[in-house]
Structure formats: structure tokens, C-alpha cells
Symmetry: D2
Subunit: 353 residues, 4 copies
């Protein structure tokens, strides 16, 4: 990778994830935002839809420029599946913040997302863009002919990072992931149930019939555990229940695990230290972490604890759903894929209080 | 019970639970608030500490009047244990919103609350004031010589009501209760971690080492299940993790259960209909309930659902922690104990949005 | 008025104002809700749109019953103007929560609301339903052939009650009303700018070009002042700027006045005591009142203060925009118009914290 | 100024302003944080009090290192007045975020802050650190023997920037500043009235008897207007009323002005364009700005509008009280005082939603 600026475009720049991409990439030391796309807004300054980004002076255009190194896509599911093939054929690195390339098994798309994947052949070539688990695959994209980064879902990032060390150690069993998310995770489209007056001073579970992120959580945990996750030789289905919290940003994944054998706190601490000791964006916490303490940053912060009374293991993981759970993580993967320092453009500290 | 007014006093009237007692009892059709007590505030109008209650015209006094039928106590743990004996000896019905008489086993007090109970002899005479489970015992207080209602904890109310039908049916196993509470549950004392700027836009778990309400949850569930709750003949310790939500009121108990045998949705529906069909304050919901939809009312609303994919049962229960989780429930028990209509003074509908 | 139940219907029952009407009227000691109407929802239980009102068991119907004493209307402007004439011709008392009958001058409708009023003849027969100012006119409706109550706007209620004593005393000059409102005042329709993620952690002014409530504020203040409000013999236009606050309910009107002559705090106190001493829903506060302290109740609470340094008068007034600013006030006027105790059905104390 | 790192210390690092100083200065391209001080916390990692800043690895010490170029002070009023003299005598540039050096007239300290200033001689040598008004004085500090930057108050920054162009043009009269602030402005000390449950879902005015920031607002506006601000040749006292908003960060100053002569929108636009055209942190907005759109950034955003109906001018100004209203502005002034690019370390875009 030569030391020149990397020309990036953003498709879906007017959504919440898109806004974060603009915020972070427009201050990235090596990336240059050369195009923003969003349907039906040709010529509109970004400030019209993202007033906080007025200072960038950027504007939407119907078409991205021809010369592009990478394109970030923040689109409803099913749309990126149509656009990405054309991009990668032009040699552009596609970094998709949606789910269209996250699942390896084509059968999962009709099952979880309700559409037949038009390019099932590309699914095995896409890299699940969680650098903490797939760093070398991301780095190998530089030499690949097809370059697709499937950036993980926000809940999936929190859950997988919280549980990966246990999965690798064969300690995952009877997994309950009780997740809490701020409202921005639901996207920007106006919906009656997301109006302030409905969300404020209230909490509720949703998607109790099975949230789509379960598919990628199980895929990744199973891969880590080599089929030995549960007594029966396979990962029992994960019990995942998300909740809507009256806040804008943040995810807390509360993971309740009953390990298949006795473990000690020291063993847990060692497993996590080993897994995450050198990770630039993973932080251990001696107390239950608050989402506020990672707000606006690319950090994932966790707390792992053996409950001596119940014999269960509790793992708490927090992140900012729009940063480590979306735009920030996509940029982290982009950095790896382009051979840049992994933290480039992501050094901001969290904003608190 | 003759049809006269019932003279009630409130000790601890300046706290949040105390405020709710004043709000509800001052509009109760049969109760008359004849005294408010709160340390060091003799003569102070209630409006000084509870500005919203100015219209009651009530004031604090150092001493309650001699003639009293019932006293409600909202006090830190350990304090009511000292006061209640004197009250009941005078023939007053004591309704304690704190934990001092909830646990039957005296050994639980040093273990969970850090104090030796000074009157262990009274523990077995106190009635756990959850009318849905102990209605007849509450009614029998009228003829008892010692009349103590131990009003349940807010989390405990939500968890026990959510799980009681399963406990009775021997279907409780592998219980994870992931609970979410508004901040008012932490009481009114100023604490740095409860300042607005710390709580707002944030969510976190707390008391992960074991919240005190676990003791009463296990006590009540075990009693319901007759010792057959788990394969081994006893209730496995409940995994209970509470969370602080950026809202003032409301509790959501998300209960994840792996039943010891296969169950159907129809069986679950029937169990809950049977348990709660005639209950004035228990409402079934076909969708995951929001805490906002019971705000300010004495309702407990639940949703029970079999997850066919995982074989687990999910029970979601919501209530207002200061009403059904505190003052409202105490009044409900008071109504039963005094032979009044159970809903007297508690007919208000929830306040939404 | 005989001592029988009063049969009331509610049109627009699925909105926020409509929900409050159902909440309060379904517990009103004399009113009986006999019909709920809302376009396109025939047969739907009220719980479908107002989950918190499930316990009422009420349902929507396309048509209201024939036998009705009063109808409350919560509709977009321009719609009630079409419906009310038919109702009053049938002898029904119409209580309109919208603006269609608030302004006496027909020319104000095209100017402020953009429509020609279809029944300008009825405007002078409608009573502006602020009982504190128009109690006797409301009471006189019982003997009137046309019975229309034009229930005041939420901002207007706060501003007029805050300023009426000064207007009467000829002390209003140079009026700046800087108002703050919770989001529920904007109604229930889903709008992008009212999504939680947009409103939360933010404050902004809106309608800076002239909010419609200015019309009724000026109309009522001018009427009180008999044309002598300002040095020039007329009321100078009121400078009214509303703001959106990240909360659901509540209005605070901060009124900055430069009185045309010197006044003392004692004179101010006396003016307000005289105006509001006997009012059941108006409360004086010795400190700046918080909206939270009237939440859910029909109270208006104010604080009046001379700023000795600037010579200006500050009046702060708070209310719950959906109760005293909408449904509660409409019921208060209904009580007066039907000869009931003015506080019937409105005795609930505020809900705090 | 040579191109070396500038060694800075922070006194009061555990407060909210202090946290922001650490957040921004630890990522500043030229400053190096060499010491953090906070009473009674010697040796404590910054993460103990500021969990979001764990990644800095910094720790508190009782003493700052000897070699220091600049010290930022975030302290209660009266404390910096004692510390700053010693610092400046050692040749250190003192940047005080508190009020102790903001007012030029020593008599203002007993009047507004209740203490006699111990070093009144230094008041005239301190520079009021609003770079948009005092840039050249700040730049001149490099050659001064006494170097004190008195960083403006949060409300004062918003109000002065909103009104300066009008003040200069002699258009300020009858000034009402109705200000709204998030809770973090009240500091970090635990107070009952700032607990989440008290602030949430509520709005109220406070300090209605005269907020201390009035002193600096009047000082600066008067200086700009050269004594001709009002018809009588002096600035009439400003009517300033602050409000507490249920949000953590952000200030909106709503300024209502009645200009002493007729003005046009075009004239207003021109005045503001002239004043702020080249300012890196001042942004004009064509719509009423929301505090959320400057959150976390050093931007001040304004909207100026003639209300043709009333003849009044409305100026709305928003900023983040902890950034442009505190730490960010202090760093901006530091940049100017040390001859660095004014935007160094302050390029972050706002965080929204």
C-alpha cells in the first residue's frame, strides 16, 4: 500500500450509520471522502440531512466518482447484495455495513432475511469484518481479487466479543444473551413506536420471536468452538432477547452462561487477557461497564465474572452501536484491509458525561 | 370491619415510596392519613420535600397520633425491625415496605442484609404481602393478634408474579432473571452515580455479586414449587442481574427459563390464565409489554412465550416500581387486610405517553 | 341538571389528547363514556392504540350513539369546524380541544390557520373554555341553545394564566413569552424530527416565525386589559417563542415583562392572590416551579417575581400540556357547563418523581 | 514558540470540565499532559473518576511537575484566585476555567461571588478568553510577563457570541436572554436536586434572582457597545433567566431584543456575516439550531431572525457547555496564546444523533 490518500465513497450517507461514516472518514488521516450517495438527494448538501456535519462542506450526488478505492455501504438488507458485485468487479473494496454478506450459508438469507441471495458465490469470499477474530483474513484482502468486508451487526459485535474467549475454551453452554440497545440502532426512518413520547421513560423487549443477529452470532461462535461447544457436540441455539432503552446510542450485552464444567475467576480472567490483551479497542473493566463510558468511541469494554453462588458466568459487554457496532468497526476493518494502522481515524476518546 | 374511616400513619414520608403512599392514601376512599413522620422535619409541610403533594396540605410531625389503625413504613433496612414490634403490640397493623419482615428464615438477615434480626419470633407471623399469592393469609390478619404485612420488594414482585405459574407447575428450571429498573428504585438519597449526567444516555448492570431481592424471590418460588422445581428436587439458585435504565420509574423483568420438559404455548397460556384470570391488577399482553403502559398504576402486565427454536420459555413482566412494586401493592394488601375492596384507592389508569 | 350520568362521546380517541380524555372520563364520577370514534378503526379495542387503557375495555366505533349529552373532539384544525355544527344542532354540547372555535374574529382563521371558517356565525357563541377567566359564561351554557366550548391551546393556557393578573392591572408591557414544551404537544403522528434519537439530549426553538397560539394569547390578554395594556392604548404584539424539550409532558411558560410603571413584590403577590386565591387548580409557588410537580394533574402552578436589578417582572407558569393544557381543562369546563363540581374526575395528585 | 511539545498540567481533573480537558488535551497534536491534580486522590488512575478516559493511562498526583508551560484550572470560585498568582510568577501560563479572573472590576467579586479578590492587581492583566472577541490580546500574551487567560462562563459564551454583532452596531436594547442548559453545567458534585429522578421529565428555571454570568455578559457587551448600547447611553441591565433541561450537555441561549431602531433581515445577516465570516468555530444556521448538532464539538451555531410582526430580533445560539462553553474554548485560547493553529486538537465533528 503506497502512502497516498485512499479515495472512499459512502452509499447511504443520510442514515445514522452513514452519518457516522462521514463524521469519522472526513477526519481520517489517510482516507478522502470523494463521494456521498443517497437516493433522490442529488446535489443536496450533507448538512440538510446531517446538520451536525455542516462543517465538512460535503454534498450528496447521484453518482459516485469513477476513481474509487473503497465504498462503504449503509443500506437496507437486500440492496447491497445487488450493488456490491458491480463494485468488486471494478476492483473497488466494498465494505458493507448491512447483513448481505455476513452469513456464509446461502440458506440463511431466505430463512432470516426473507430473500434469496442473488450472488451466493460471493458469500464465501466475503470476510466477516470483526478484526479481533478475522484480522488476518482482512489483511489478506489486499491481495485478493474480490474484496468484500461484511461488517458485523451491532448486537452481534457485542455478543461475539463478549463470548469468543469462552467459545474457544469450550466453555459456552446454555447461553442467554439479554441485550439492551439505544434507539439509533433501529435506523432513521420515522416510525410511530420510535417517537420520543413512546420511547422515553419506558423499556421493552422486542423481536422476541428471533432477532436476525442470532444467525451471525451462532455462526461465529460455532466456528470458534469447533463443534465442541455443547455437551451434544454442537452449539445449542442461543437465547437472544433484545430490548429498547430510552437512550440514543449504546449496546449492553448481558451474557448469562452456565459453563459445562467448573471454572474459576482466575481462569476466566486469564482467558480474556489472552484473547484481548493486545487489542487496541477492547478494554477490560473491573466493574460492570456503562454504555456511556464508550460513547462515540470505537471501544468495546467488558466485564467477566463468576457468580460463585450459582456457578454461572456473567459477561457484560458494551459498545457504541454506531461506532464499534457500525461505522467505526467498518473503518477499523478498512484500515486492516488497506494496511493502515488499525486505529487510524479512530483515536477519539469517548464522550462523557 | 365497620364502615368507618381507617386512620393511617406513614413513617418515612419524604422518600419516594413515602411520597407515593401520601399520593395514593390521601385520595383513598376509606383511609384517612392522620400522621406523617420523617426524622428531623417536625412541622414541615409535606410540600417542602414533595412539592407535587402541596395540594394535600399535610405536614410532617415528630410523633404519630395515638389513635391509629395502620402504619405504613418506608425505611432503610434494619430500622423497621426496631419499630414494628412496638406498633403491633399497640394493636396497630404494620405494613412495612422494607425487607425487615419478608424473609422467614432469621439466618437470611445476617446473610443478605448484614444484621441480626432483633425479633426473629415475629418473622413467621408476618405475611408476605403479595395478594396474588397470599390473599387469604392477608385476610386472616383481621383476626390475628399480631398484624404485620411485609410488602415485597419491587424486583421480587415482578419476578415472582412472572414466574409463579411456572413454579406451581414444576416447570421452573435454569432460571435467568435479567431485570431492568428505573432510577427511583434506588431511593432518594443523593448519590454521585445517580446524578442525571451519569445515568442519562447510559445503561449498566449493578449488584452483580447478588442482589438482595434474590432471597425473597427464591423463598417464594420454592414455596410454590413444593420442592420439585428442579430435577434434583430443589430450586437451583436463580441467576438474577439487575440493570439501571435511564428512566425514573418502571421495572421490566425478562425471565429466561429452560423448562425441564417440553411445553406448548397453549399449555403456557392456560397456566397463566388460570393463575391470573380473576386478578384485578394482573394483565396479560399479546405483545412484549412496555413499562410505560403501567406507569403510575398498580398493574402488573406480562407476556409469556415459548421460543420454538430454543425450547426456552420467555416471560416478560412490567410494573411501576413505586406503585405495584411499593406503595400501591402495600395499599392493595392493606385493603385485603382491612376487608376493603381490593382495588380501593388504586383504580387510577396508567399515565401514558 | 339532574343527578344522572352524563353520556359522553370522544372523537379522535387514538391521539394523545384523546387518550387522556379516555383515561380521565372513564374514571369520572358522573360522566359515562358511551362512544369512541377514530377514523378507520371501527371495532378496534382501545388497547390497540392506547395499550395503557386496556383495563377500560372500551372499543372504537365508526359512529357515536345517538343519545349523547356531550362530545369531546380532539382533531386536526379545520375538521371540528365541519363536525361541531351538526352536533350542536342535535343539542349536544361540543367541547373542542382544537382551535376551530377559539378565535372570535373570523379573519384570524385564514391568517393563522390557513382556512376560511365555514361557520363564522358560531364563533361568537363559543365560549373560550378557560374556567379561571370564563367560568360564568361556561355555566351559562346550560341554558344556551348552542353549546360550544373552545378548549384553549396548551401554550395559551400557560401564558394566559401566567399573565392575566398583570393584564387586568394594566401592567403588561413589552411581553416576552419564552415557552418550553414536552414532545407530546406535537401530537402522535410519526415525524422524523420527533423520533427519539433526534429529540433526546437536545433542545431547540421552533415556529419562530409565529406560533398559532399567539392569536388566542393576544385575544384573551387584550380582552382582560380593556385596551389599556400598553402606553399606546393597545397590546403590543407578544413575542412568543416555543421550544422543544427532551421530555414527554409539561409546559413551562417563562414570561418576561417590563411593567409600564414601578411595581413592588407585595403588589404582585396581592394581584395574584386576588386572582387565584379560590381557584381549585391554580397553585402559587414560592420557588420556580418544575413541570414534574404538576405531571398528570390538572394543576397550573406559578411563581411571580420582581427582579429588583432590572425592574422587570418574571412570571413562571407550569402545567401538564395533556391535562390542564388539553383533556383535563376540557373536563373542567365540561364540569362547569354541566353544573357539576368543578373538580369532578380531576382530583388526582401529580405523579412524581 | 518553537515547534516542541507544550507541557500542560490540569488542576481539577476529576470534574466534568477537567474530564473534557483530559479528553481533548490528551489527543492534542502539540500539547502533552504531564500532570493531573485533584485533591485527595494522589496516585489514583484517572479511570477511577473518569472511566471513559481509561485509555489515556493517566493518573492523578498531588503535585504537578516543575517544568510546565501551561496549567488549566477547573476549580470552584475563589480557589484559582489563590493558586494562579504563584503559577504566573513561575512563568506558567494560567488558563482558568472558573470566574476568578473574568471580571475587570474588583468590586464585582464581593457583589457576585461573595469574596474579596486577593489579587485585584491581576484582574486587568488577565485576558477574557473569548478568541472571537479578544484574539489579539490572547496572542499578545506570548510576550507578556503575566499570562492569565480567564476562560468565559458557558452561558456567557453563548450569550455574548449571540449578541456581539448587535452590540457593536448599537442595536442592543431591552435584552432578554432566556437560556437553557443541560445538567452537566451544574458540575459533578452530588446534589439532591440533580439526581436523575428529579431532573428527568422536567424543566424549571433557576437562579432567578440573578445568575452570576450576568456580570461578565454585561461587562463584555458594554465594552463592545462603547457606552451607546441603549438610548440612555448605557446598557440597561440584561434580563437573564437560566433553565435546567433534562439533558446532559448543551446550552441554548434564546435572545429576545427590541432594537432601538428599525432593522432589516438583510442588515442583520450582514452584521453577523461580517462578524463571524472567518471564524473557524462559529456557524450560521438557516433554521433554529439544536444543541445536539454541536454536541462534543467546539462549535457555536447561531440563527438570527427579524420578527416582522413584533419588530423584535431573535438570536438563537447553541454550544456544548463543556466544550465551547468550557474545555474546548480554553484550548482554543491556549492555541492562540501559544501561537498554534487555533483549531489544533479541536477538529472533532459533533456527535449526532
Amino acid at each position: 500500500m503506497v502512502d497516498r490518500e485512499i479515495r472512499v465513497g459512502i452509499i447511504g450517507a443520510t442514515g445514522y450509520g452513514g452519518g457516522e461514516l462521514v463524521r469519522l472518514l472526513s477526519r481520517h488521516p489517510r482516507a478522502k471522502v470523494v463521494g456521498l450517495q443517497s437516493r433522490g438527494r442529488d446535489g443536496e448538501p450533507i448538512a440538510a440531512s446531517q446538520p451536525h456535519l455542516a462543517a465538512t462542506g460535503l454534498a450528496i450526488a447521484d453518482d459516485l466518482p469513477d476513481r474509487l478505492d473503497a465504498v462503504f455501504l449503509g443500506l437496507p438488507h437486500g440492496v447491497a447484495a445487488e450493488l456490491v458485485p458491480g463494485l468488486v468487479e471494478r476492483g473497488v473494496t466494498a465494505i458493507d455495513l448491512g447483513p448481505d454478506f455476513r452469513l456464509h450459508d446461502p440458506a440463511d438469507y431466505p430463512r432470516w432475511y426473507g430473500f434469496e441471495h442473488p450472488r451466493a458465490d460471493l458469500l464465501e469470499r466475503a470476510v466477516y469484518g470483526l478484526p479481533e477474530l478475522h484480522r488476518s483474513e482482512l489483511a489478506a484482502l489486499r491481495d485478493a481479487s474480490v474484496r468484500i468486508v461484511a461488517s458485523p451487526g451491532c448486537y452481534a459485535t457485542a455478543a461475539i466479543l463478549a463470548l469468543a474467549p469462552l467459545a474457544r475454551a469450550g466453555l459456552l453452554d446454555d447461553v442467554v444473551i439479554d441485550a439492551k440497545s439505544g434507539v439509533s440502532g433501529a435506523g432513521r426512518e420515522a416510525k410511530p413506536e420510535l417517537q420520543f413520547s413512546e420511547v422515553n421513560e419506558s423499556v421493552r423487549a422486542y423481536a422476541v420471536g428471533g432477532h436476525r443477529h442470532v444467525a451471525e452470532i451462532e455462526q461465529e461462535l460455532l466456528a470458534l468452538g469447533g463443534g465442541s461447544l455443547a455437551p451434544g457436540g454442537s452449539l445449542a441455539p442461543v437465547d437472544f432477547v433484545p430490548h429498547l432503552i430510552p437512550m440514543t446510542r449504546g449496546i449492553l450485552a448481558t451474557c448469562h452462561i452456565r459453563p459445562p464444567r467448573e471454572v474459576s475467576q482466575a481462569e476466566l480472567d486469564e482467558l480474556y487477557a489472552e484473547a484481548y490483551g493486545g487489542e487496541p479497542f477492547v478494554e477490560s473493566s473491573t466493574v460492570p461497564p456503562a454504555t456511556k463510558h464508550v460513547l462515540g468511541s470505537n471501544a468495546f469494554r467488558f466485564h467477566v465474572r463468576l457468580d460463585a453462588r450459582t456457578g454461572r458466568v456473567l459477561v457484560l459487554g458494551v459498545l457504541d452501536n454506531l461506532v464499534k457496532g457500525a461505522a467505526g468497526q467498518a473503518i477499523q476493518a478498512f484500515n486492516v484491509a488497506f494496511g493502515l494502522p488499525e486505529t487510524a481515524g479512530l483515536e477519539q476518546l469517548p464522550l462523557a458525561p
